[in-house]
Structure formats: C-alpha cells, structure tokens
Symmetry: C2
Subunit: 338 residues, 2 copies
DNA sequence: TTGTAGGCGTTATCAA
DNA sequence: TTGATAACGCCTACAA
C-alpha cells in the first residue's frame, strides 16, 4: 500500500550549516571546500554540522558562481557499438570517482549531430568534452572545439588523433595492431587476406588499412585493392561486403575486419555460402567484444582498452597527464576464428 | 599547423540582448520563454537581437532561479547489455527533442550503486530520474525515490513495475511474451523445454518464468524444476548453466532464455557439446539484439521496444501521458534457432 | 583565522 | 504591455 504522506523537506543550505556550527557562511564554504587555514575546532564543528544536516552543495549555484560546472559530456560514435558502450561504462566510473557527472550524447556517426551538440555546448558550462569517435571531423567542428577550449572547456579526443589541432588525444595503435594481426594470419599460411572496414571518413580506419598493407608488403606480397572493402562498422555492412565478394568469385583465405561487428557479419556471409570458418577462411576482428568468446567459432580479435583509455582521460582532466598524444597498445586475443 | 590565437569571447547575456533590442532584461526573458502578451514589434525585435548575438540562456542560472534543472538521469542495469544501450540511444534522442540533457549512470546491477546515486541525487536539481533495471529494489531505495518525487523530481521505472509504490512504470509484457514463445516451441513439438534466466532478484524475470510455466501447464505438461535455471544476464551465465545441465545428463529439446546474451552463451555450450541448434535443441532469446540476425544459426528472439518505451517516458515527462502503468507488447521474431 | 558584502545570470513579483 | 528589483545558493575579494 502506497504511503502518500510525503513531506517536502527543504534541503539545507550553507547558511543552515553556518547557523548550526555558529560560524559564517563563508567559513562553511571554505572549510567544506578544503581550505586548510582554520582552527581544528572550527573545522570539526562545521564538518559535524554539515554531516548532521546532510548538507550537499547545490551544483547549479556553485556552477553559476564558479563559472564552471560539474559535468563532462561524452560524445560517442554509436552507443550501441560494443566498444562505445564499454567506454561509457568505464568513463562513468572514472568520472564518478572524481565527483563529476557524465552527459552522454550519441553521434550516430553523423556530422550534423556533432555540430548540433557543439553549437549548443558553449552555454552549458561543461567541465570537459570527450569526443569518442573515429569518424573524421569536418573543419567547422574542429573550430567549434577550439572555441570551446578557449572557454576553458577541456576537450579530449578519444580513438582519434586531433593533437595536430592542439587537442589532447588518446588513441590505440591501430596501425601496428592491424599489422600484427595480418602478420599472424600470414604466419599461419593465410593468403590472400582481405581487409574489411571503414577507410574513407576515418583516419584511424585508414591507419588500420595501412597497417594491413604494410604487413603484406613487408612479407613480399602485393596488395590487391579488390580485397580492400570499405564498409561502415555495423553487422550488415560486414555481411553485405563479404557476400558480394564471394559472389564476385574473389579468392581469399582470411579477412581482417575493423570491428567485431563487421567480423560477425562476415562470418555469417561465409557460413551462408558454405565456407567454413576458420577452415576455409580465417576471420579476425577489432574490439574484443564480450560476446567474442561465446561465438562458435569464437572470435579472434584485437584487444580494446576502455579502462586504460578512461584512466588516461581522467589523468588529463585532473591535469596530471601532460602531453597531447597518448597511445595504448592493442594485442591479439587469439581464439578459434583466426 | 595549429592556430593558437584563440580569442576568449564573452558569451552574451540577457542584458546584452535587452540593450540591443532596447528593452529590459525582464522583457527579453519573458519573450524568449514564450510569453504571449507582447506587442509583435517588441517580440520580433527581441528575437532578432537574440538571434543576432547567438544568445543561449545559461542553464546554471536558470536552474538556480527556477529551482529545477534541464537534465534527466538514466540509471541503467548495465550499459553494456544491448537492451540498455539501445534504450540509452532512444532516450537520448527523445530528451534532446525536449531540450533536456541525459545523465547516464551505470548500476552494474548493484544495489549499492543505486543507493549511492539516489543519496546524491536530491542536490542535483534533476528534472527526472528514469530507472531502467529489472532488478528488484531494496526498500530503502524505494523510500529514496519517493523522497525525490516529493522534491518534484519525476521518477519513472522502466522495465519494472513500481506502480504499487506510486511510481510511474513502463514495462513490456514479460509474462505473455514468455508464454507466447513457450507455446511456439511446444507447437513445433519441442518438449521438454528449459527456462534459463534471472528469477530470484528480478520480478520481471519471475514473470517471464511464470509465463513459461503457464504455457506448459495449459498444454497439459508438468513443470520440471530441474529445467529451470536461475542465472544472471550475461553470456557466461548462459554458457555455464547450459554446460552443467548437459553434464548432468538432463534431457531437453529447447531452451527459452531470458536474454539474447544468455541464449548465445547457451548455444555455445550446446555446440561445444556436439548438439546442433536448432536440430537437437531450439533456443529463443529475449531482446532481439541487432546481432541476432547475424548469428548462425540466427537467433529467434522476443522483440524489444526501446523507441516505444522512450516515447512513453517522454509523454510522462511532458505530462501528456497519465496513469501509473504503461505496457508495451513484445512479439516473437522468428529466425533459425527456434 | 574569520566575517561582510557583492555578484554570477536568470526569472518572478510587484508596480506602473 | 513593460520595467525595476529582488532572490535563487554559492564563492571569494576585501576587510578586520
């Protein structure tokens, strides 16, 4: 049975704490914000009063006065992609530790949505913006980001290099990861190898493709452009690209896919066409999704490091990490598919 | 080459707009907030001035003055589960439409995290809290939620019934969905059928199990409690529970899993044990994950309706939807696995 | 070491 | 229909 007798209790203010502690509001504010220059007796009295009243400072008032809020906006390429969901979880945990709120904005891989957010951002008193997408940004958005930085908003690019624009960037080494995976496939006698993934419109995607090319070249193989399939990150794209390649009669014994989603789509197309994985074709993905181990065949993939990435972002936000470019190494998580 | 000449441009205030339009700040505020009682000339002058200066009201100041902010907190059971990621995307889009920000908080299925958030919530001037989890809540958290409601925070339960506590709830019909799926399996001659999913600690999970039981009973079958496997929502749990059942030599020709993640884990265990899906064992999941169509066998699943759910939440937030309980119907999306 | 006073930007009340 | 003024809650410069 619902209890409808809800009493509206006014939340305590600094003034209330001050009254109870027998000091001024200024003293309360200073002590609660960690000022050291107070008599122990005063400090304890104030802290006790705050505790007793359950005082929590009003973020709106604080933000108005300080000119800076307590939230960070996380802009993700697509929250439904595993890597971004994982990133969101770790970022939220890291920010919570810092006492910051996490605002999530889904870009859905659309420039227009990014622009829309950035245009509305200046008024929001954000502490920072973490832009997590590998999609290449249009010039005007970079300009907007730099404008935000001028307003003291900390801007951090995640999974994409923007350090050439003076924007702190935290990335994973796509180039050497792709090279690593390609080399591993070659070692197992796989050749020709196809590359499946976003290349146009994504600098990091292009990096991955470059790593793949370099590995082939270094092993003395020619790069066949018919085996480079430019596709977006979703399942369908992987399925379609692979199905078309099979239909065209292209020969390949391995696929390096730029995401686990693409890899799954590719595997489905292969199996539908009667090819076995990894028997006929080996497949490696990127992102080490949590479901990768529960596929059959289980999916070999390049590791993803949301916790480390979030940790570095945290360091930057706290001013502890210096430097414009931070890189985390990926490694190969070997399973059945490749 | 980075252009380091960033000019700090002061953002315009109502006062600036007022000056440009030749009116008072109060007039600007009123017109920009949609007051009707002004001469057209004035209104146009003010709107033009605001546009020209690119004025955007400061949310902190507004929130301080109005006593209410512009953000909604979305508390999700686990952002890395597909259903919650999808929900997050749709909720964000819906809120953006309303001009509201989305704060995401990951509960990681832990009561302590929910409590932690709710204790810090009162100070935050949230417009609303959307609690999206099927996990049963402890009493004290319900109390905290009701306290928040008393402070004019709109509280909405998503995927769980809390209407008995006076909390608006938006759910999907778990009971009839489970019944539907079970009946479909029975029609195809599948029996015995196992149930795999969270039961303890989740009212909606228990509902699903009840639907399964009812379908069996109505078809004149006994319910074998050895075929009801209480497991959490993740892949591993599905894998483990199924592997154990196989090891114990339990006989079953179908599994109804309470999530697609569990279903995938179950399929992996079945295939590892040499059972074919759906040949030997049919499997149906819940959630219609985007990858379900790209599994082989592709996964039959009960539909999930994040867009409809978000739409109803929006209606409630806008005060358009009345009533404490809203239900969306699931249907069966038939694919290969079941 | 502590207090007083003023202002952050907006909106609501009151008066005109 | 419009304007002046005060107040939301907090923090900090200045004073003591």
């Amino acid at each position: 049975m619902p209890d409808d007798s809800i009493a509206i209790v006014a939340r305590p203010r600094v003034a209330d704490v001050a009254r109870l502690a027998g000091v001024s509001a200024a003293t309360v504010s200073r002590i609660l914000n960690g000022s050291e220059m107070f008599a122990d007796a005063t400090r304890i009295r104030v802290q006790e009063a705050a505790r007793q009243l359950g005082f929590q400072p009003d973020p709106a008032a604080r933000s108005l006065r300080r000119g800076q809020g307590d939230s960070i906006a996380l802009l993700v390429g697509d929250i439904e992609q595993g890597v971004y969901a994982g990133l969101t979880r770790h970022m939220q945990a890291a920010l919570e530790d810092m006492g910051l709120d996490l605002l999530v904005y889904d870009l859905a891989h659309q420039e227009a949505r990014l622009r829309r957010f950035l245009e509305r951002a200046p008024a929001r008193r954000l502490r920072g913006i973490v832009l997590a997408t590998t999609d290449t940004l249009p010039e005007d958005c970079i300009g907007l980001l730099r404008g935000l930085m001028a307003q003291q908003v900390k801007v951090i690019a995640l999974r994409q290099r923007l350090d050439q624009h003076g924007i702190a960037s935290v990335i994973q080494d796509e180039h050497s990861a792709a090279k690593l995976a390609t080399a591993a496939l070659l070692r197992k006698g796989r050749m020709p190898i196809a590359f499946l993934g976003r290349i146009s419109g994504s600098l990091m995607g292009a990096e991955r493709c470059e790593g793949y090319r370099d590995a082939l070249r270094e092993a003395g193989h020619a790069v066949d452009s018919a085996l480079i399939w430019d596709a977006s990150y979703r399942y369908r794209a992987g399925f379609t690209a692979t199905a078309e390649a099979l239909q065209r009669g292209l020969a390949f014994s391995a696929i390096l896919a730029a995401s686990d989603e693409l890899a799954l789509g590719a595997i489905a197309a292969l199996q539908d066409a009667g090819r076995s994985v990894p028997g006929d074709v080996a497949v490696i993905g990127f992102g080490d999704a949590d479901w990768a181990a529960y596929q059959r065949p289980s999916l070999t993939s390049l590791s993803e490091h949301p916790a480390e990435l979030s940790g570095i972002v945290r360091g930057i936000l706290e001013g502890k990490a210096t430097g414009l470019l931070h890189e985390v190494k990926r490694h190969l998580v070997e399973r059945q598919s490749g």
